[in-house]
């Protein structure tokens, strides 16, 4: 009888809770893909980041414009040599089960991240921490050698391999979130299951239907819980953007995290002010093979690059006004001001085509010996359109292009094996720093699909990363970027934009270059 009444009580309370939540201010977010996990160290996609960033909080967190602000740490100091960071944790921070968040939780999380057996996809983003790479590669077996130490429950000390100007930024990333040591040790891999999981962020997950949605609710233990204007969010899985837009129009979604480019004009007319298009730190580019004929010839690469009419791609072909890319690092990247540009950036398009023709003739191609190329892209409407347009732009040069599309897995497998002449690729910054882009062209890096190699470039990047003075560092990086652009190491096409649709009911949504919008900064009026 006792058991029964207790159960009954619990049911009744749960029912009451549900009834409450119906009246609470909740928000429906179209989130795209199905999350792989709720465990912050096992994620890899931006749709997972949206959930993880609402339910967990690192030492440093982001404000509405994604500037770093104190999170679980209330302050920190940096040693003079830039190698040792000492964080002071906030007082009274708790997991959602009421247990305190301690420096030990962070140490545990970082060690777990670097554990080779845990096989975290993104462990490499924190390789700047002392011994992290060696531990992750299995060269050091003792996890306590990692440069993350708990001085006491409230003080955390992180030692780096080299001074890294973007380290505070990289602590906003989900790989740097803490995990509840007490729970993971007790429950093992099951700690992330709904009903068991505890989190330290503004919200906590309360429901997950794979393929449908994740629901979060306010975490009352969170230090800023009193300031939260939204009581919880539903993150919906829906890969079809057209369908998502329809659900938005029917009022089923409040925020779309992407929209079909074709609908932009329509939305500007019919949903004025609701579609947000803003610069995003990412680059859409074509890989060009520097090791095989005919693109081994620098003149061929440059001709192809010059003949791309970048000005029409954003406004005409995509329709969302992406800005043409003539540099490798997108403008507006932190620690960098203006990037280097290709020397022919401002020539009129006609002149570019003439010069491109001349370059191709010099390289020995012409009507008698036409250049034939394969252009590979992964299956996607926008990639297809751009490839079709660029093939048409190259046609007047006498270049015959064969378009080859493949599913993502095959496409990237081919790129990695260097089985490509010209191929589509893109890069979204992991953290806001030029190194994140410039590293893509360093000899031997797996993402250097075109196998472009230049000893001077490699040296400049290496020197830049050891340089403590930010100005000098930027100078070295800019020289390197110039070398790559002059040699047409790859063909930058446009800088990405972030595309969101935000209901007029929502306020506090700030466009930013990393396209991160945490629910805690939003509010909703009914």
């Amino acid at each position: 009888m006792y058991h029964f009444s207790k159960k009954f009580l619990a049911t009744a309370m749960f029912g009451a809770l549900l009834a409450c939540s119906a009246h609470a201010a909740t928000i429906n977010i179209h989130n795209g893909g199905d999350p792989q996990s709720l465990d912050p160290q096992k994620l890899s996609g931006d749709w997972e980041n949206r959930i993880a960033g609402d339910i967990f909080e690192g030492l440093v967190t982001e404000d509405a414009k994604v500037n770093p602000i104190p999170g679980q740490a209330e302050s920190w100091t940096i040693s003079d040599d830039g190698l040792v960071y000492t964080f002071k944790l906030r007082d009274g921070i708790k997991w959602s089960d009421g247990q305190p968040v301690t420096a030990g939780d962070f140490v545990f999380a970082f060690q777990r991240l670097m554990d080779p057996k845990a096989a975290a996809d993104y462990a490499y983003l924190q390789y700047t921490i002392k011994n992290a790479e060696k531990i992750n590669k299995g060269e050091i077996a003792d996890a306590s050698q990692l440069g993350v130490k708990a001085i006491d429950d409230k003080t955390l000390e992180i030692t780096l391999e080299n001074p890294t100007p973007y380290f505070i930024n990289s602590l906003m990333h989900y790989t740097a979130y803490p995990v509840p040591k007490h729970l993971v040790e007790a429950k093992g891999a099951d700690w992330v299951k709904i009903g068991t999981i505890v989190t330290n962020g503004p919200y906590k997950p309360v429901e997950w239907v794979p393929g449908s949605h994740v629901t979060t609710a306010k975490n009352d233990q969170y230090y800023g819980a009193a300031n939260l204007k939204i009581d919880g969010a539903k993150f919906f899985v829906l890969e079809d953007q057209e369908a998502a837009l329809k659900r938005y129009r029917a009022g089923e979604f409040d925020i779309l995290t992407d929209f079909p480019t074709d609908q932009y004009e329509w939305m500007k007319k019919n949903l004025p002010g609701q579609a947000h298009v803003a610069p995003f730190s990412g680059l859409y580019y074509y890989v060009i093979n520097s090791q095989t004929e005919p693109t081994k010839d620098k003149r061929v690469r440059q001709a192809l690059s010059m003949a791309i009419n970048r000005e029409v791609i954003g406004p005409q072909i995509l329709g969302t006004g992406e800005l043409p890319a003539y540099s490798w690092v997108p403008p507006g990247t932190a620690n960098y001001d203006e990037p280097s540009y290709v020397s022919w950036k401002d020539e009129p398009y006609k002149q570019k085509v003439e010069e491109a023709k001349k370059l191709l003739t010099e390289a020995g191609f012409g009507p008698s010996k036409p250049l034939t190329l394969q252009l590979k892209y992964n299956t996607n409407d926008n990639h297809k359109r751009i490839a079709v347009a660029i093939a048409a732009m190259w046609k007047p040069l006498g270049v015959n292009v064969e378009l080859v599309n493949a599913e993502t897995k095959v496409h990237y497998d081919q790129l990695q094996r260097g089985d490509v002449q010209v191929g589509r690729a893109g890069w979204l910054a992991d953290y806001n720093d030029p190194d994140n882009f410039l590293n893509l062209l360093v000899t031997g890096v797996p993402m250097n699909y075109g196998r472009w190699s230049n000893a001077e470039y490699d040296k400049l990047i290496k020197d830049g990363n050891l340089e403590k003075d930010l100005k000098k560092r930027a100078e070295l990086f800019k020289q390197a970027e110039k070398i790559a652009l002059d040699d047409s190491a790859a063909l930058p096409i446009y800088y990405y934009v972030s595309k969101n649709v935000v209901s007029p009911k929502i306020s506090g949504f700030e466009d930013n270059v990393q396209d991160i919008h945490r629910t805690r900064w939003l509010s909703i009026k009914e």
């Binding site: 199905d34 792989q36 996990s37 709720l38 465990d39 096992k42 890899s44 080779p116 057996k117 845990a118 096989a119 975290a120 996809d121 462990a123 490499y124 790479e133 992750n136 590669k137 992330v192 299951k193 239907v209 794979p210 393929g211 449908s212 949605h213 919906f236 899985v237 829906l238 890969e239 079809d240 057209e242 369908a243 998502a244 329809k246 659900r247 129009r249 029917a250 089923e252 599913e407 993502t408 897995k409 095959v410 496409h411 990237y412 497998d413 081919q414 790129l415 990695q416 893109g426 797996p446 993402m447």
Partner: protein, 307 residues
């Protein structure tokens, strides 16, 4: 009959084994691996991942591990989910898929047989053409076109039904996806019913019935329907297997949880464990459905029963 059914189920075990084995090895021939993607992972990370999933072992050893786990009833991990393994993912999606599939199946049979019979009764007359043309819409238009049109009309313009989502699973959420799933099958069933009904109606015993002065509707109900159902029944097996395994298009347009997406996405993502899991699930389902079809055959046609 029971022992026949049991023997058939038993005889599928070697078939299942062959299919799983073939799939296991053939899958590895496909280019691209589970961890290829927009971002290439550093070799050290790939090494850790391979070790984590035993992918660094020789293929034959991986196969033995897999079969060993399988015999213990473990379908193994899925690369696309850290928190749920293959069996859990299928079990989570199954109730949604079955609800949608069974409803769509029933709807397809009711509409299909009714329209088919009317078409046969009024062969080459107005009702035949009008109904035929209407039902053909379902056959002619691909589901990825019908679904957004229905969403636009009933979800946005008329605002009668939700555009998508499972909601609380109530009827209003089911209507659009079920109609989209049922339409093409209703169309096919109606065509097959119509054709076979016309054939049956022209056979001697029906002519006799007609000659005796029994009305056409009664003739259909009493005499013609059962023999005319033979080709329809053979189509029901495949139709059920389509519907009960879900639909990637319907799930992704309406944002529904279900297992349909696994059939395509697992192969595209090189999620080896999930591909094998769906193969096993699908095969077991097919065997059951075929068994049911064969039993239905025996019931409809006594000559087969004597086999």
């Amino acid at each position: 009959m029971l022992s026949y059914a049991f023997r058939r189920l038993l005889s599928t075990i070697p078939v299942l084994w062959i299919a799983v084995t073939a799939c296991f090895f053939v899958l590895r021939l496909a280019p691209g691996g589970p961890f290829d993607g927009e971002r290439s992972l550093p070799p050290a990370i790939l090494q850790n991942l391979a070790a984590h999933y035993n992918l660094d072992k020789p293929l034959i050893q991986q196969y033995l591990y897999y079969v060993g786990d399988l015999l213990r009833g473990d379908l193994g991990p899925s690369f696309s989910s850290e928190d749920f393994n293959v069996a859990q993912q299928i079990m989570i999606g199954l109730p949604y898929t079955f609800t949608l599939g069974m409803t769509a199946f029933a709807l397809a049979i009711i509409i299909g047989v009714a329209v088919g019979c009317l078409g046969a009764l009024y062969q080459n007359k107005m009702p035949d053409y009008v109904l035929g043309a209407m039902i053909l819409v379902g056959v002619v238009f691909p589901n990825f076109l019908i679904a957004p049109i229905l969403q636009l009309v009933f979800g946005i313009q008329l605002a009668w039904l939700p555009v998508g989502g499972w909601g609380d699973g109530s009827l209003k959420y089911l209507v659009l996806p079920v109609v989209v799933m049922a339409l093409p099958h209703a169309g096919r069933i109606s065509r097959i019913t119509r054709g076979s009904m016309i054939e049956v109606m022209n056979q001697n015993f029906i002519r006799t019935a007609k000659a005796k002065g029994i009305g056409p509707r009664l003739t259909v109900m009493r005499h013609a329907l059962k023999p005319a159902m033979m080709p329809v029944v053979s189509y029901l097996g495949p139709a059920a297997s389509y519907l009960l395994t879900g639909s990637l298009v319907v799930e992704s347009i309406f944002g529904l949880p279900g297992i349909g997406r696994y059939f395509i996405n697992a192969a595209l993502n090189r999620d080896y464990g999930m591909v094998l899991g769906t193969v096993i699930f699908y095969m077991v389902l097919i065997v059951f459905l075929n068994l049911i079809v064969d039993i239905a055959y025996a019931w409809l046609d006594p000559k087969v029963r004597n086999r």
